[in-house]
C-alpha cells in the first residue's frame, strides 16, 4: 500500500516535471530488433531499422541516413557482441549524444543479456571473422526473445516514464503470447530433434540449440571467409553418407556453394528468413519463427 501511494506520487511528479515527450526514437540495428521494439513500444516509439533482411549486418556502411537517425536516437537497440563493430561505434561517436553512449540507459545490446553460445577463450583473426564474446546471432531462440523483450521494456519505461503503464501492458501481452507460441513451437518441432544440418555460416547456432539439432558441417571454411573448392570437397566427403536434413542459408548469403553441395548429395537447400522480412511471409517475429519452422520441417 505504501508502495502504491509512493508510486502514485511519483507518477504525478513525473507527469508534471517532464515536458510533453515526443515518441521515443529507437535505432534498431536489424529488422528483428525493430520488430521487437514495435511489439513493446507500440505507438509510443518511432523506429529506424538500420539494415534490411537482404544485408549482412556484419558489413554495412556508416551511411549518411544512419547518422541522421543516430543523431535523434533515444535508444540504440542492437545485437552487440561486436556484430556491428564495423559501423555502429562510428555512428555513435559521430552523431550520438550522451543518451546513447555505451553504459547508458539508451544503449541496449541484446547479446549482453542472454547465455551466449560459441564463446571463445582465445581468438585470433586467422580463425576468420570470429566474435570472442560469443555468437552474436542471438535472436533465433524464442527464449532469448523473451528475455530481451523484458530488457527492452525496462529501458523504454526508464526513458519514457510517462508511458510506463503502456510498456508494461505491452510487455505483459507480448510475454503471454510468446509463452503460448513457444510452447506450441516446442511441440511442433519435436520431430526435428537430433537431426543434422549443414549451414553456410554459424548464424543458426541459437536456433539449432533450441531445436536440439546439430551442425555437421559449415560451408564457410572459417567464419566470414567465403567457401573454397577444397573446403567444399571436404564437406562433401563428410556429409556423403550421413543423414542430413538440410543445407541452411540466409537471404544475404551466396547460395551457389549450397546449391553445388545439394546437387552432389540431393540434400535440399533451405533458405530460411533469418530475420523479419527475410521472406514474404515473415512479417513479424511470430511469423519469422513460424516460417522458419515450416521451412525446416518441409525439408
Amino acid at each position: 500500500m505504501k508502495n502504491f501511494i509512493l508510486l502514485f506520487v511519483l507518477a504525478f511528479s513525473v507527469c508534471w516535471s517532464s515536458q510533453a515527450f515526443a515518441k521515443v526514437n529507437v535505432f534498431a540495428c536489424a529488422p528483428e530488433w525493430g520488430a521487437l521494439a514495435e511489439e513493446i513500444g507500440g505507438d509510443n516509439v518511432s523506429i529506424t531499422v538500420a539494415t534490411a533482411a537482404s544485408q549482412d549486418v556484419h558489413f554495412v556502411r556508416a551511411k549518411p541516413s544512419l547518422l541522421t537517425a543516430m543523431r535523434k536516437a533515444d535508444l540504440v537497440f542492437c545485437s552487440g557482441a561486436s556484430l556491428e563493430q564495423g559501423w555502429l561505434p562510428l555512428l555513435v561517436r559521430k552523431a550520438g549524444d550522451r543518451d546513447v553512449q555505451q553504459e547508458s540507459i539508451g544503449w541496449l545490446m541484446a547479446s549482453d543479456y542472454v547465455e551466449k553460445l560459441d564463446v571463445m577463450a582465445n581468438a585470433d583473426r586467422s580463425q576468420g571473422h570470429v566474435h570472442p564474446e560469443g555468437n552474436p546471432h542471438v535472436h533465433l531462440d524464442p527464449r532469448n526473445i523473451d528475455i530481451i523483450a523484458e530488457m527492452l521494456a525496462e529501458r523504454l519505461l526508464l526513458i519514457d516514464r510517462e508511458n510506463m503503464a503502456v510498456y508494461q501492458s505491452n510487455l505483459a501481452r507480448f510475454k503471454e503470447k510468446w509463452a503460448n507460441l513457444s510452447q506450441k513451437w516446442v511441440g511442433d518441432t519435436s520431430s526435428l530433434k537430433g537431426k543434422q544440418v549443414v549451414v553456410y555460416h554459424n548464424a543458426w547456432s541459437y536456433l539449432l540449440n533450441w531445436l536440439g539439432m546439430d551442425v555437421i558441417a559449415t560451408l564457410e571454411p572459417k567464419p566470414g571467409v567465403p567457401p573454397t573448392a577444397a573446403h567444399l570437397e571436404a564437406v562433401l566427403a563428410r556429409v556423403d553418407n550421413a543423414s542430413v536434413q538440410a543445407i541452411l542459408v540466409a537471404p544475404y548469403e551466396d547460395g551457389d556453394a549450397a546449391q553445388w553441395l545439394s546437387d552432389k548429395t540431393s540434400i535440399p537447400v533451405v533458405q530460411l528468413p533469418f530475420t523479419v522480412g527475410g521472406d514474404a511471409k515473415a512479417t513479424n517475429l511470430e511469423m519469422l519463427f513460424e516460417q522458419t519452422i515450416t521451412k525446416l520441417k518441409g525439408a
Binding site: 537482404s54 553512449q101 523473451d146 528475455i147 510506463m164
Partner: protein, 455 residues
C-alpha cells in the same frame, strides 16, 4: 528486506556507472521496485511454464541438449537485473586500442620526370619512389579518455630519399557527448575538406591520391587546430562545420605569431535513394592567410593568401541490396584555388613576382565490386594551371599551355576487411610530352584494433 537492499544497491550501482542518467536516487529505486513487482507476477507464470517445458523435455529428452536448455531457461528467471551492469566494453581489451597498418609496394615509372607543369608541389604530393619498398607504416592508438572525450593519435613512419621520417599524422581529442548533434575536435587531424582529405590513405580506393589532392592539399591537409561540427536535426542528413588552424601545413606554411593562419568551413547533405543507394554531396573551403610556403623541393616560394574551394560528391550503390556481394562507388571532387601574393622560383632565378590568379582541377572515379573479394576501378584526373605572369615565364609555374592529366585503372583483391592487395596502372601527362606509364602493385594490411571507416 534483503531484496530491497539489493534493489537499492543496484540503483546506486546503475547511477554510478551511468552519470548520464542522473535521475534522483529515490525515483529510480521506486521504478526498480515496480519492475521487480511486475516481474514477480510473471515469476509464477514462468515457473509454471518452466515446469511444462521440463515435462515436455523429459518426455523427449536427449541428455546433452537438455542441459543447454536448462541453462537458458533458468536465465529467464526474473531477477532485479541492473540495467547497465555486467557488460563487457567492446573492443577495449587493450586500452588504448592499438592498430598497425602495414603497406608495401612495387612501383615502376616509364618517365624520369614527375614534374607538374604550372604547379609547385609539396613533398607529399610528389609521385612515390620506384622499385620495391614499404610505403607508410601507420601506428594508431585510440581510446575513450573518459565519458566525455576520445583521443586518437596516428604516427606514420616512411622513408624519403633514404631517411626514415616520422610524421605525426594525427593527434587529437574529440568530444563524445555534446548535445544537438555537435562534436568538437582539437589537436592535429585530417580536416573535413572535400571527401578524401579526412580519410587515411590506406582506405583509399586507389594506390595514389588523385592529382588535385596532390597539387592543392599536398595529399592531405592535417594542420593543428580546432574543428566543430554539427549534424542538423533534419530528415535529410545535413552536417555543417568550421575549423581554425595554425596554418603551418600545405597549402599554408611559415605560420608564426599568435594569428590564426587558416580557416575551414564545410557543409554537406546526404541520404538514401531507395534501399540500395546512398549519396552525399558537399562544399568546403580552406582559407590560408599570410602564407609563406616552399614547394618543388624548396625551390619555389609562395607568399600571400591562398584560398581553396572544393565541391565533392559520392554515391554508393548495392545492385543486389547486399553491399557485401556487389557494390558500385561513384566519387568526384572539384577544386578551385585562388592565390594572391608573390611567387619566386630560385631554380630559374625569377625573383619575386606578383601573382594573382586561380588554378583548378577535378577528378572522377568509379569502383565496382563484382565479386565479394574483387573490385575494379577507373579514375580520370585533370588540372588547369591558369595563366602565367610574364615574370614567371619558363619557370616551374609556366605550364606552357599544357594542363596536367592522368588516367588510371586498378583491380584489387580484399581477402577480409583487414587485408587488400592491388594492381594499378596510371598514364600521366603532367607536362607537355612528358608521358609517364606507371605500374603500382601494393598491399595494405591491418593488425590490432581497426575502427570502421566513414561512409
Amino acid at each position: 528486506m534483503s531484496k530491497k537492499l539489493l534493489l537499492a544497491a543496484v540503483s546506486v550501482a546503475a547511477l554510478n556507472v551511468s552519470p548520464a542518467f542522473a535521475a534522483s536516487d529515490e525515483e529510480l529505486k521506486l521504478l526498480r521496485a515496480e519492475i521487480a513487482k511486475m516481474q514477480a507476477t510473471y515469476e509464477a507464470k514462468i515457473n509454471e511454464l518452466e515446469g511444462k517445458l521440463e515435462a515436455i523435455e523429459t518426455r523427449q529428452s536427449t541428455a546433452n541438449t537438455m542441459q543447454a536448455n536448462t541453462v537458458a531457461v533458468t536465465s529467464v528467471q526474473p531477477s532485479a537485473r541492473p540495467a547497465t551492469a555486467q557488460r563487457p566494453i567492446n573492443n577495449s581489451s587493450f586500452n588504448p586500442e592499438i592498430g598497425v597498418i602495414l603497406q608495401g609496394q612495387y612501383q615502376s615509372f616509364s618517365n624520369d620526370s614527375g614534374e607538374f607543369a604550372g604547379f609547385a608541389i609539396g613533398e607529399e604530393g610528389e609521385r612515390g619512389e620506384e622499385g620495391l619498398g614499404i610505403d607508410e607504416t601507420e601506428l594508431n592508438f585510440s581510446a575513450s579518455v573518459d565519458n566525455l572525450f576520445r583521443a586518437s593519435s596516428t604516427v606514420a613512419l616512411h622513408e624519403h630519399e633514404g631517411d626514415l621520417e616520422v610524421e605525426l599524422e594525427e593527434a587529437y581529442v574529440e568530444t563524445l557527448a555534446l548535445p544537438y548533434g555537435m562534436q568538437a575536435k582539437a589537436g592535429r587531424f585530417f580536416s573535413e575538406l572535400g571527401y578524401l582529405n579526412s580519410h587515411h590513405a590506406h582506405s583509399d580506393d586507389f594506390a595514389d591520391r588523385p592529382l588535385p589532392n596532390r597539387a592543392f592539399l599536398d595529399s592531405n591537409y592535417n594542420d593543428d587546430g580546432v574543428q566543430i561540427s554539427m549534424i542538423l536535426p533534419t530528415d535529410l542528413y545535413t552536417e555543417i562545420g568550421a575549423g581554425a588552424f595554425r596554418g603551418s601545413d600545405f597549402p599554408g606554411g611559415g605560420a608564426e605569431g599568435s594569428d590564426i593562419g587558416a580557416w575551414t568551413a564545410y557543409g554537406r547533405v546526404g541520404g538514401d535513394i531507395g534501399n540500395n543507394t546512398s549519396w552525399r554531396i558537399g562544399a568546403s573551403t580552406l582559407q590560408a592567410n599570410d602564407v609563406s610556403r616552399e614547394a618543388n623541393e624548396d625551390t619555389v616560394t609562395f607568399e600571400g593568401d591562398s584560398d581553396l574551394y572544393i565541391l565533392d560528391g559520392r554515391a554508393v550503390i548495392a545492385p543486389t541490396g547486399n553491399s557485401a556481394e556487389q557494390e558500385i562507388i561513384l566519387q568526384g571532387e572539384y577544386f578551385y584555388r585562388d592565390e594572391n601574393g608573390t611567387y619566386e622560383d630560385t631554380d630559374f632565378g625569377t625573383g619575386v613576382v606578383d601573382y594573382d590568379d586561380a588554378q583548378s582541377g577535378w577528378y572522377a572515379q568509379t569502383v565496382y565490386k563484382f565479386l565479394p573479394k574483387w573490385r575494379v576501378g577507373a579514375r580520370y584526373a585533370q588540372l588547369y594551371a591558369g595563366d602565367t605572369p610574364a615574370g614567371l615565364a619558363g619557370s616551374a609555374l609556366d605550364s606552357e599551355g599544357h594542363d596536367p592529366w592522368s588516367g588510371t585503372a586498378m583491380i584489387d583483391w580484399t581477402n577480409s576487411e583487414f587485408s587488400r592487395a592491388r594492381l594499378q596502372y596510371n598514364h600521366e601527362e603532367l607536362a607537355d610530352g612528358q608521358n609517364d606509364n606507371q605500374i603500382m602493385l601494393q598491399y595494405i594490411m591491418s593488425i590490432g584494433a581497426h575502427g570502421a571507416h566513414a561512409f
